[in-house]
């Protein structure tokens, strides 16, 4: 009696396994291949076959010069529609689309060498259509009883899913990066407890003056910012996990090494980013450079203050005109007229200055506006003569008021009180930067020195030269009065003389 599973009863007793592929192996007509009937197989082939049949890892053996294929259940899944026809076929014919690749495998393996491929990309037709797959492939020779390589055994791990997943992740990352790069706001990612820059977008680069900060801790990358409390804010977010938002916060940035600190204003949020176990690993920094907006707001506030200042000053100036005119007035009607005329003169000077944003005034334009009320309608009773030049706002108002007082006097008592009288207003700047303004009356009645020191004479002879740190003279010539003001050009430009 021989036991059923004794060598004599079942030639495939050495497989000792009853899986789907094992059954196919047992039924396969091995006599038609170069392996020959199983009874003729060398022990090495049997052992190797049993070994791979039992392995849960996809394995295939390529035996002999032709590479006759014997594989396991796991490999049969990988082989797709090629299985079961693939079993017992020669590898170059079984996988014709990768015949060259396998030709090399056979040559190297049968020469006793090993081969290893990581994520090897191949196009296989295992499902009836071309399919791109990736595999980890490890080949090693199988030795026969004489110690010579008789076949090649391959561990075949398909990595297609992982490779595609990694590729998707990479594409996702690139998509995020391009979003980052095109974002109109600044963005950066800092990682770890020392807040190391791992990502910055072009807007962030612009904000920090295009410094190379990737991989550097904030403390080293932006030392001047660290001193301004931003590092403490990052620490706070990192330790508490609470997001922080700030608006119109001032930050001083050193754009160039040893360069000056640039003032910027920023709106921003520090957003904690947690890893899988929930601890804060990164901080996402996102915000906008709002410097222009903040400056515009400050400028507007300044303008409002400035406007308020001008209004209050104008009220005080009007108060001055009214009180001083009334102080010397004898007739209420005349006083009212004088007050109105002086306020109009002040207003005309303001108009000229307003056109120039109160920066300076063209002297000719200013003088024309001042003398307009005294000009006869039919002829030029007042001539202006002088070079084009500009005067500062304070000097402009004073000169306009002085011309008004001179004009008023000329109409009442001087050259403009009679037909045929004329006035020449002449100005010049000498080589020594001395400014001269003259008011020359001719053709009027003989004027003698008045004895009252009224508003007009006080203004032109005392306060005006005081203000301009110059000199004022009034000359009573037989032909008419001549007023002469001299001052340094700096003084009439409102700069310190």
């Amino acid at each position: 009696m021989t036991p059923l599973n004794a060598p004599g009863a079942d030639p495939f007793y050495f497989l000792g396994h009853d899986g789907p592929v094992a059954r196919l192996v047992k039924d396969f007509p091995w006599g038609t291949t170069c392996l020959g009937r199983v009874e003729t197989w060398p022990q090495s082939l049997k052992t190797a076959t049993a070994l791979l049949i039992h392995s849960p890892v996809p394995m295939v053996m390529l035996w002999g010069e032709q590479g006759v294929m014997i594989y396991n259940d796991a490999y049969s899944v990988f082989a797709g529609h090629r299985h079961p026809a693939l079993l017992g076929s020669n590898v170059r014919e079984g996988w014709p689309e990768v015949a060259d690749f396998n030709d090399n495998v056979m040559k190297v393996g049968l020469a006793g060498q090993t081969l290893a491929y990581q994520d090897q990309e191949l196009t296989l037709h295992r499902k009836g259509y071309p399919e791109q797959v990736w595999m980890n492939l490890d080949y090693s020779p199988v030795l026969d009883e004489t110690g010579r390589p008789a076949g090649v055994i391959a561990v075949v791990i398909e990595t297609t899913e992982r490779v595609l997943a990694e590729r998707r992740n990479r594409q996702e990352f690139q998509r995020l990066q391009s979003l980052f790069a095109q974002a109109p706001t600044f963005m950066a990612m800092v990682s770890g407890p020392d807040h190391r820059f791992t990502l910055v977008n072009p807007e962030y680069n612009k904000l920090i003056g295009n410094r190379d900060v990737i991989g550097m801790p904030v403390r080293e990358a932006l030392p001047e910012v660290t001193e301004q409390g931003f590092f403490d804010l990052l620490d706070h977010v990192f330790t508490t996990g609470e997001a922080i938002t700030r608006t119109s916060l001032r930050v001083l940035l050193r754009w160039r090494d040893q360069g000056p600190l640039e003032e910027r204003f920023v709106d921003f949020v520090y957003q904690p980013i947690r890893d899988q176990d929930g601890t804060v690993a990164h901080i996402f920094v996102q915000g906008s450079d709002v410097t222009e907006r903040v400056r515009a707001e400050n400028h507007q506030r300044l303008l409002i203050n400035e406007l308020n200042h001008r209004v209050k000053n104008s009220l005080a100036a009007v108060q001055s005109i009214v009180t001083q005119t009334l102080r010397h007035a004898t007739d209420p009607g005349q006083a009212a007229q004088a007050i109105t005329a002086r306020i109009m003169a002040l207003s005309a000077a303001h108009n000229v200055l307003t056109q120039e944003s109160w920066d300076s005034a063209d002297l000719r334009t200013l003088a024309q506006a001042a003398i307009r009320p005294f000009q006869a309608p039919d002829r030029n009773t007042i001539e202006l003569e002088g070079p084009d030049m500009r005067v500062g706002p304070y000097a402009a108002i004073s000169i306009a008021l002085a011309l008004h007082e001179l004009g008023t006097n000329a109409v009442k008592y001087g050259a403009l009180s009679v037909p045929g009288g004329t006035v020449l207003v002449r100005w010049n700047v000498s080589g020594q930067s001395v400014f001269t303004l003259e008011w020359i009356e001719t053709g009027g009645p003989v004027v003698t020195k008045g004895d009252h020191r009224g508003f007009g004479s006080r203004l032109i002879l005392q306060v005006l030269p005081d203000q301009l740190q110059g000199k004022a003279e009034l000359d009573f010539r037989p032909t008419g009065i001549v007023f002469k003001l001299t001052a340094a050009v700096e003084a009439i430009s409102d700069h310190a003389a």
Partner: protein, 118 residues
């Protein structure tokens, strides 16, 4: 009668302030309309009290204020801005908003201030 330094760059307001000070029976020093002349006066003149416009042709009169403080001379600011733009150092200095009247100036001048600096 006190000697009162007037620092004011606007010609009409300077004239008004000079009148007010004179009418109150005091002796005006100035008006000084530029920072440099005001500084010289604050340094050299015998002054009992001062009225300083804050803005002098684009420059601020704070250096004048500092000199007066060093000399222990009381003063007030007169400004169209009110207190806006005044730093902590001058928080104790009264500010008169333009326009002002003689009564406000009279109240601002400390009683018996005449002759203190002499």
């Amino acid at each position: 009668m006190a000697r009162i330094l007037i620092v004011e760059d606007e010609i009409l307001i300077a004239m008004l302030l000079e009148d007010i000070v004179t009418d109150l029976g005091h002796d005006p020093v100035g008006p000084m309309m530029r920072l440099q002349t005001a500084l010289d006066a604050a340094e050299r003149e015998e002054i009992d009290f001062a009225i300083l416009d804050i803005n002098l042709a684009g420059q601020q009169s704070f250096p004048v204020a500092d000199r007066l403080m060093r000399r222990g001379i009381p003063f007030i600011f007169a400004s169209g801005y009110g207190r806006a733009g005044l730093t902590e150092a001058y928080s104790a200095v009264p500010v008169l908003q333009k326009p002002y009247d003689a009564a406000q100036i009279a109240r601002a001048i400390p009683p018996h201030s005449a002759g203190q600096s002499r």
